[in-house]
């Protein structure tokens, strides 16, 4: 149905009164041919082209424009301008109600203006004047009552737009409107189909392609096609905040290819600031911009543009930019599809970033693994990763070969490699301690010997970490074994020297005490000899007193034992070398020493009181070494009371628990005390207050106590004399005895 215009048949019938039937026939024929031509193709551009040509052919020497309604605007979509006289541009856009086309569109009726310059509704006077155009006819294009646009014809003479021409144009316009509407519908459907196809392709790329550049390139080309753009670019934010084009299609000039959008400048700059799409048709309608900016745009002949921001995580990270070299405005449909493409671009960028972050993390992990490997191989230690339960070796560093001589393959081949190559004397101890620590899930440090491939014995300081169970639920051991053979040998030498020194001072001390020691032996000998003589006397009696003789013999046996025991103790003290550590009761050790010193104490009139609560915990110690400490300290105490005019010759020995893991022995005398400023110096070598002292006794004592893990100190008593005390750690639980020389069991140390 045609409302405003009339159909050809209607028009012919309604104008039966037209005299020139021949003329009418030819016009009718022309009109029919024109209508046929405009419906020949479904392509909008061809339809528009056809419409404009046909309209121009209906009115001689006319300029014809098809203005299409887009939203509230009329946009010039097709135009025939024969014989241009000037280069004054015509308007390409009108708002509804603006200018003659705008009025005709708004009023939905044909306007015929014989003198446009005289008409107040005329807008583009400069153009009309320059081109010598005077008359104008604007016919609304109405399809099914809907305004599609307007058809405008301009002529230099009003006579060219007579009523017949206008009527013919009106009829033609009715058909043209339907043809345009149909072509638009077709184009719309076609466009939707292409959009759907392109978007589907991009979505597939997004899912399958990890190469963000490929996806973005496809988005740019999709925008180019779907928006029918002349120049399309996809720009990404640079570190300086500007947006250089990353993908560009259709640009001709170098200036435009190197173009960077700066926030706030131009259409792109506005889109960056507003965070919304920006659009401009006429070049003159573009926002203000610096000259070099405009130059780049004009260098490429760009006249209209549509920009959509690419928003990634609420931040504008890019722009999708379509431009046209015509002044034809991009449509709402273009904007809609461009927004969707920009969303896809944002998704691609976000995915790429996540992927890049993951890649970076992965390569960082690889780099640090490589560094670790390098470090591990340059470390002068064996580094070993093994399963905490099976001891299966997951990793051993190359350095292990240099240290023990076995190829690393040998380590991997035998899950029991480590335990098989621990020195037989240390094997059980080390394995047991290791197993205990693993069971308790604690890091531990072991020292033990290993046997190298050439039979060398290598001392290892092994720091073992128990790593938490991984995803497979299995705990790993990381062991770092350092070769401490040289250190151990040095330690052994020092220990041997200390033992020699300790022995020498022991001998020296006992030498000083020889008189008292002789007395101690002379007592039982006297008793034995006297008893024997007495027995002979009783035996000589008639009758012999057998009861008496039996008692005598028993005493002889006891006294002999007493002498033997004393000699045993003395011999123990005089022995060289070390004695195995064993659980010791320090009150017993003190008692032994006091028995040895009995005569010496009596000779100096020194009384000794010992305070020891019952049930003291045992300490782990070398009995001879600890006797030597007590011997030294007690003899020192006696000496301190010899020189002075001490009326009170008394030594107080107190044995008590110290803290929760040590026993303390304190020896307090009533002697001259220590030189007030030299209390600490008494432990220095060769410091002595004695005329004949060597000054090594306390040094040796201190080294013995320290080797036991204890501490030796001294202080002056508040009233008189001095107190020396030392501590020795108790045996912890059921732990196996340790040896100071380390030549026995592996010695568990505290975790590092």
């Amino acid at each position: 149905m045609v409302h405003s215009g009339r159909s050809i048949v209607e028009w012919v019938g309604g104008n039966g009164s037209v005299s020139d039937t021949e003329n009418l026939d030819s016009r009718l024929e022309l009109l029919l041919r024109l209508v046929e031509s405009i419906t020949a193709s479904p392509d909008l551009d061809q339809v528009l082209d056809s419409v404009i040509r046909s309209a121009a052919s209906l009115v001689e020497r006319s300029r014809s424009t098809v203005w299409i309604l887009e939203g509230p605007r009329l946009v010039a979509r097709a135009c025939i301008e024969p014989r241009r006289l000037s280069d004054v541009p015509n308007r390409r856009e009108f708002a509804l109600g603006d200018g003659l086309p705008g009025h005709a569109a708004l009023e939905r009726r044909t306007l015929v203006v014989p003198d446009v310059l005289a008409d107040p509704r005329t807008v583009s006077r400069e153009y009309l004047e320059a081109e010598g155009l005077r008359a104008c006819a604007v016919i609304p294009l109405l399809a099914h009552g809907r305004l599609v646009g307007v058809l405008e014809l301009l002529t230099s003479r009003a006579a060219d737009l007579g009523s017949t021409e206008v009527e013919m144009l009106t009829v033609f316009a009715g058909h043209a409107a339907i043809a345009i509407e149909s072509a638009r519908l077709y184009a719309d459907a076609e466009r939707r189909r292409r959009e759907a196809e392109t978007l589907a392709q991009i979505a597939r790329d997004l899912a399958e392609q990890h190469d963000v550049d490929a996806v973005l390139a496809r988005i740019a080309s999709g925008a180019h096609t779907l928006c029918d753009s002349d120049v399309t670019s996809l720009a990404l934010r640079d570190t300086d905040g500007s947006f250089p084009a990353r993908f560009m299609i259709g640009a001709r000039s170098e200036a435009y290819r190197n173009f960077r959008v700066v926030p706030g400048l131009g259409i792109g700059g506005r889109a960056v600031l507003d965070g919304r799409p920006a659009r401009a048709a006429e070049r003159v309608a573009w926002p203000p911009m610096p000259p070099e900016y405009a130059a780049a745009i004009d260098a490429d002949g760009i006249r209209s543009a549509l920009v959509v921001p690419i928003v990634v995580d609420e931040k504008i990270d890019g722009l999708l930019y379509v431009c046209s070299r015509s002044s034809q405005s991009f449509s709402d449909a273009d904007e809609t599809v461009l927004v969707r493409l920009a969303d896809h671009a944002a998704a691609a960028i976000r995915t790429a970033r996540l992927f890049a972050a993951e890649q970076a993390a992965r390569s960082e992990a690889q780099a640090s693994a490589a560094n670790f490997r390098k470090l591990v191989d340059t470390l002068d230690a064996i580094v070993l990763d093994a399963d905490a339960e099976t001891f299966d070796i997951a990793f051993v560093n190359q350095r292990a070969e240099a240290i023990l001589g076995y190829p690393v393959e040998a380590w991997y081949a035998d899950p029991q490699f480590w335990v098989h190559h621990v020195h037989p004397d240390d094997r059980d101890g080390a394995a047991a301690e290791c197993a205990r620590a693993i069971a308790e899930n604690r890091d531990h440090v072991l020292q033990y010997r290993m046997v190298a491939v050439d039979g060398r014995v290598v001392w290892m300081h092994d720091m073992v970490r128990v790593l938490p169970a991984g995803t497979d639920g299995r705990r790993q051991l990381r062991s770092v074994m350092v070769d401490i053979t040289a250190r151990k040998q040095a330690e052994l030498e020092v220990q041997q020297q200390q033992q020699v020194l300790a022995h020498l001072t022991r001998v020296a001390t006992l030498g000083e005490l020889s008189g008292a020691l002789a007395h101690e032996l002379s007592q039982p000998l006297t008793s034995i000899l006297t008893n024997a003589r007495a027995a002979l006397l009783f035996l000589a009696r008639e009758p012999a007193d057998l009861e008496e003789i039996r008692a005598i013999l028993q005493d002889i046996v006891d006294e002999d034992r007493r002498a033997t025991e004393f000699i045993r103790r003395l011999r123990a003290l005089l022995r060289r070398g070390e004695t195995p550590r064993q659980p010791l009761d320090l009150s017993e050790v003190t008692g032994d020493v006091l028995r040895l010193l009995h005569s010496e104490l009596v000779a100096h009139g020194v009384a000794v009181t010992t305070h020891a609560p019952p049930g003291l915990p045992k300490v782990n110690g070398d009995p001879v070494a600890l006797q030597q400490v007590l011997l030294n300290l007690i003899v020192n105490a006696c000496d301190a009371m010899r020189s002075g005019q001490s009326l009170e010759r008394h030594i107080d020995i107190t044995i008590a628990v110290d803290g929760d893991s040590a026993v303390r022995v304190a020896i307090a005398d009533r002697g001259t005390g220590l030189p007030p400023n030299d209390v600490e110096r008494v432990f220095e070598p060769f410091f002595t207050t004695k005329v004949h002292g060597l000054g090594l006794g306390l040094v040796i004592c201190q080294s013995i106590v320290t080797a036991h893990g204890g501490h030796l100190s001294a202080k002056n008593n508040s009233d008189r004399g001095a107190t020396f005390w030392f501590t020795v750690p108790t045996c912890k639980g059921a732990d196996a005895p340790q040896r100071v020389d380390g030549r026995g069991d592996a010695s568990p140390l505290d975790p590092i």
Partner: protein, 126 residues
């Protein structure tokens, strides 16, 4: 008990003390033993006739001090000192105080018996 001469033994070592008691008893002397000088002095025996066999090294009061304490009061008492320690000065001191003999442990018991016999004559109980 007869009031004849007796041997008084002062020694802090019980084993030695008992052995000496047996020796002198076996030889027929009356014997009394004391563990310390103080114990002996408490008995007020210093006027008694006899022989005092005393160890030099006793707890708080030494044998020499005991000897010195007895001094003139022990005119009837011969003093024999024993010692487990070699000390010439001590021996000289003992002789200055009037000790008749000085024995270093371990000594030959027969020699001690002889010295006691020289002081007290032959034992009564023989």
């Amino acid at each position: 008990m007869t009031s004849g001469p007796a041997v008084f033994v002062v020694d802090d070592d019980p084993a030695v003390r008992i052995a000496l008691e047996r020796l002198f008893r076996g030889a027929g002397w009356r014997v009394r033993t004391f563990a310390s000088a103080e114990e002996f002095l408490q008995q007020d025996l210093h006027l008694a006739r006899g022989c005092l066999v005393v160890d030099v090294h006793l707890g708080s009061m030494s044998g020499l001090e005991l000897h010195a304490t007895l001094g003139d009061r022990a005119a009837a008492m011969s003093v024999i000192l024993t010692t487990g320690v070699d000390d010439v000065n001590m021996e000289l001191e003992a002789f200055k105080l009037g000790a008749i003999a000085f024995f270093r442990k371990p000594f030959e018991p027969n020699e001690l018996l002889e010295s006691v016999g020289q002081c007290l004559g032959r034992p009564d109980s023989r």
